[in-house]
Amino acid sequence: MDFASSERAGAQPKEITSAKIVVAGGFGVGKTTLVGAVSEIEPLTTEAVMTSAGQGVDDASKVPGKETTTVAMDFGRITMADDLILYLFGTPGQTRFWFMWDELIRGAVGAAVLVDTRRITDAFAPLDYFENRHLPYLVALNCFDGAPRYEPAEVREALAIPAHVPLIMCDARHRDSVKTVLVGVVEHAMATLVNEHGRGSPATVG
């Protein structure tokens, strides 16, 4: 089927690769702000309509009379080259939409879990989620104005963040700070990949 379209087009069109990084965290933690700080477009919202019966996730008894749910995800775009686009996807704030998180993280480069130090307990569910998934992630502490500041070591202990998971401070409103977070995610993904490769097969140098 691809033959027909390339015949018509004449020249071989360049293959474009797209990658994505997931920005997770509780409701109102600043995920969309973070995405907007680096995205070349205003963050967009895409919606998925879910049926409670089909997914078996939504507990219908908790939302009487409701059979469908709309899950909204905000995302941004960075066109890095004419053949490379990076997308940044914010997870739905409500952690009961795990099935949507599963779709979002599939094929992702890695993830950043954004934590608001004023509501630190909101971070437990997202962190639990990533602990049980095979995806490199780091924790970014969003330092709001006037938010209680903790030492990273205190936060790591309070949230029981494993030693191998990087923890960095950030300000989701500032482009340079967000850049640092995203660079951190990719570097961590590379380190994880190298590590797995080294363990999985005898070292092949070169």
């Binding site: 049926t51 939302v63 997308y87």
Partner: protein, 122 residues
Amino acid sequence: MGASQPHDPRGALVRPYAVTRGRTEPQRDIPIEAVLVASQAAMQEARFAGHDKYRIAVLCEPRAQSLAEIGAYLRLPLGVARVLVADMIADGLLSLHSAAPKEGFAERMDLLERVLSGLRKL
């Protein structure tokens, strides 16, 4: 937790799938970040493919757009956009470009390096 989702009283499930003639299963699975491009030639044909498919072609002709962008700009739920896009790929109206490679150390490493240098240049 506390906040409840805004409820769409118009029966959101039924209405959107009318444009796919009731089908909810796409012909192929398309990742949310996979990008799609419409050629100029395909644009001509898309005029006869129906209103929504034509709008998708118009959006994807000047620059590559992801499935997520198609859903967002055209205000179509993701599932609906996926069915329409899969049809359009099958009909040669859109070409699907690959999302990130999931296999192979060298390919994955190469992509990570390119993304990293892209981020540093921001």
